[in-house]
Symmetry: C2
Subunit: 437 residues, 2 copies
């Protein structure tokens, strides 16, 4: 029996911590057990991160159950290390000196996310609080290109993003590359990205932090696109909700979040909802199967079913353009588009019902193109789930659209970088000397 503990237990933050994408798949910073002080620093920092600028030193003492003097000195250490700032006076009705509110810094440590997708490349830089501060999307079909050229373009976009971020006082500390497919995080290898036509592709050697303008020991990692996108759902992660996040573009991916943490599975390949079977004898899929959800509910499948080529001549392409086109046609009463959207919604509903029957989770979040198409497909998805989920009558699940759309993967990828600092600020504090920064 293969022991799955390490992989399966890995949380978003801690797994990535140890899984750098060094060319030979070596781990740059071995996972270590944090010191008690390091753990307390992390708890205090998490309080401040979750507080959205509304927590005081006293709140931190109350929420961490550390005494005031300890929590005060932790806060001072976080401030002098450049992770936390005082943001002014928090007004209260009680007597005494009004407390100072604390927030994560909005300059300094930052995260870079890069997304390689079928019809676009995207970059995003977030500050330590996870707020997007720089974004760029380049719309271009990547399917005909040599994967090395695609990665070269992505790295150039990443380097430009780092440069622009530095102009506004941000210092990206790592990069996560989001790819639509099965990835081997440990070996920095794309196992299968059917819609890109990539398979068995080791990319580690091309992901050089120095080339990106990052510190030489910066952690650069590879991650599944939908897993990254799910990390953009900040409120759900904070409340430790269990949910299935479905992200549709050309393909359809998903991420499974159990109690606020990604369920990555044995190989990190969980959440391949795009390859759930909708019709056992349906059209062939790039994964080798037949009748997969992607063949009904991805953006090209919808266009195809509506009798349109992809890309549609005379219309712009790239994120958002397809959903605009779909909405226009639906508004115009195009019967083929209406049927194509209905078919996509029924297929999503069928696939979602499979996940609910298996997992009994409370929430499904539809992202990517479904973010824009929500009003069109949600009713169909919900009706299909109601008829196929065995528990629907007693515990109807919530099915909602995501907070972010096609920009979610790059955003979530960037957030995964700063999340590492928040989960374990010790590394940062150890290195927080003027020579490094």
């Amino acid at each position: 029996v293969r022991e799955p503990l390490n992989q399966a237990r890995a949380t978003t933050g801690s797994s990535r911590r140890a899984l750098s994408a060094a060319p030979e798949g070596t781990v740059r910073r071995p996972a270590r057990r944090p010191s008690p002080r390091g753990e307390n620093l992390a708890r205090a920092l998490r309080c401040i991160a979750d507080g959205d600028g509304e927590v005081s030193r006293a709140d931190i003492s109350a929420r961490t159950a550390l005494n005031r003097s300890t929590s005060g000195s932790l806060v001072d250490e976080l401030i002098s290390a450049g992770l936390v700032r005082e943001v002014g006076i928090k007004v209260r009705s009680t007597a005494g000196r009004p407390p100072t509110s604390l927030a994560l810094v909005d300059a300094g440590p930052a995260g870079l996310g890069i997304e390689v997708n079928v019809d676009h490349l995207a970059t995003c830089v977030v500050d330590l609080a996870g707020n997007p501060r720089y974004r760029r999307v380049v719309t271009a079909d990547q399917r005909g290109r040599d994967p090395r050229d695609v990665l070269r373009s992505a790295m150039a976009l990443g380097a430009a993003a780092v440069h622009e971020a530095e102009e506004i006082g941000l210092e990206p500390q790592g990069m996560t590359l989001a790819v639509p497919g099965l990835v081997d995080v440990d070996r920095a290898r794309v196992v299968l990205a059917p819609n890109l036509g990539w398979h068995d592709l080791t990319v580690g050697a091309q992901l050089d932090p120095v080339e990106l303008g990052l510190p030489p020991d910066a952690v650069v990692t590879l991650e599944n696109e939908a897993n990254c996108a799910a990390l953009s759902e900040r409120r759900l992660l904070r409340s430790r909700t269990s949910f299935l996040y479905v992200h549709a573009g050309i393909g359809v991916g998903s991420a499974l979040v159990l109690r606020g943490e990604l369920h990555r599975g044995r190989n990190g390949w969980s959440g391949e909802v795009g390859h759930l079977t909708v019709e056992h004898d349906g059209p062939a899929c790039g994964c080798g199967g037949r009748g997969c959800l992607e063949q009904y509910a991805g953006q090209e499948a919808v266009l195809r079913a509506a009798g349109l080529p992809s890309p549609v001549p005379g219309t712009s392409t790239g994120p958002g353009a397809v959903s605009e086109l779909v909405k226009e046609r639906v508004d115009g009463g195009d019967p083929r588009m209406l049927e194509a959207v209905g078919r996509a919604g029924r297929a999503v509903g069928l696939a979602v019902a499979q996940a609910l029957n298996l997992l009994d989770i409370e929430l499904v979040v539809l992202g990517g193109i479904y973010y824009d198409l929500g009003p069109l497909i949600l009713p169909v998805v919900r009706a299909e789930v109601a008829s196929r989920y065995a528990g629907a009558r007693w515990a109807p699940p919530r099915i909602v659209t995501a907070v972010h759309g096609l920009d979610a993967p790059a955003l979530g990828a960037a957030r995964s970088v700063v999340q590492r600092i928040i989960d374990d600020p010790s590394d940062w504090l150890d290195a927080a000397d003027p020579h490094r920064r």
Copy 2:
């Protein structure tokens, strides 16, 4: 956002501990935080339970990292409480006094499991080590009967089992009732058992421990049949393996075990693999859906597809009889039966592939009638999974038959009772006085 922590985090042992099936759904023994000594007792007891009669006091000291004197006194306490016994000399090549091996007692505390199923009722009593010591199966179709009469029969069988167990020196300390369907454990309610024709049925009032001959404060609980069956896979649970357990009888249920613990889901309804969609426009199912796995791969579906009525006139019914009949017909070259079994295998493979695409787990265990039919259906299941699981080429999953067959639910139900004692022996120790026993 509904907070799912308590339910979703609940482990097999600890969840049941607090979830007694009192008539009003009250909780008889509120969960409490065990004392440090209680935790150490549990660790020592678990060592002994996992050691299969091959651990010494020194081994326990080594495995728990407790010093010899502490672990020795814990063992003495477990022995005098009647949970552990010395089983003789463990021969070693090293010098010094040979150590005494320790094992769980084979008399005294025991567990009772009762299974209510569509075509049979079953009981099982296990000793503290989880070994089955008494079993009985009554074959009879339960579908036409008033659910209260069915429960009355089940309770009478349970009382007989307790009586017989006492004859051989066992003292059952609780009962778990396994039911094929969605159950609300907290409220002791069968929400939906489509193949029995039961729904929204509160059974708590009928599950009286005294009527069973159990101690008045014994914990009696309701649990899904496939969840119980999965608990019969002792080796996998001990090694904290992640696996999907599929249990087929009249219907098809499953249990999802992640790192050795049942993933119960929000309502305790996870693992409803029997209601995964095989054909979106397939035959109607008792759950309200269409084309569910049960309609292809349950034992009645197989007989129906082979052109046979169920029960088959002139043959015996009940657990095992159907698989015997199927094997005979296949051996005889009956083309309709061959096709029916192939169809069942393909349907199971399709459903299993859905689970693997979603969850990326390493192992699938096929139980119930598949235990007997393994050689017939495994090759078909594996081929279908290979063509539909996106990661199959890189990480082929293991698909195997279960260790136990149709007897697994009652066995696992009984084991869940003794597992509670092993997980937290403090209650037992508190009550270990001669007046009680």
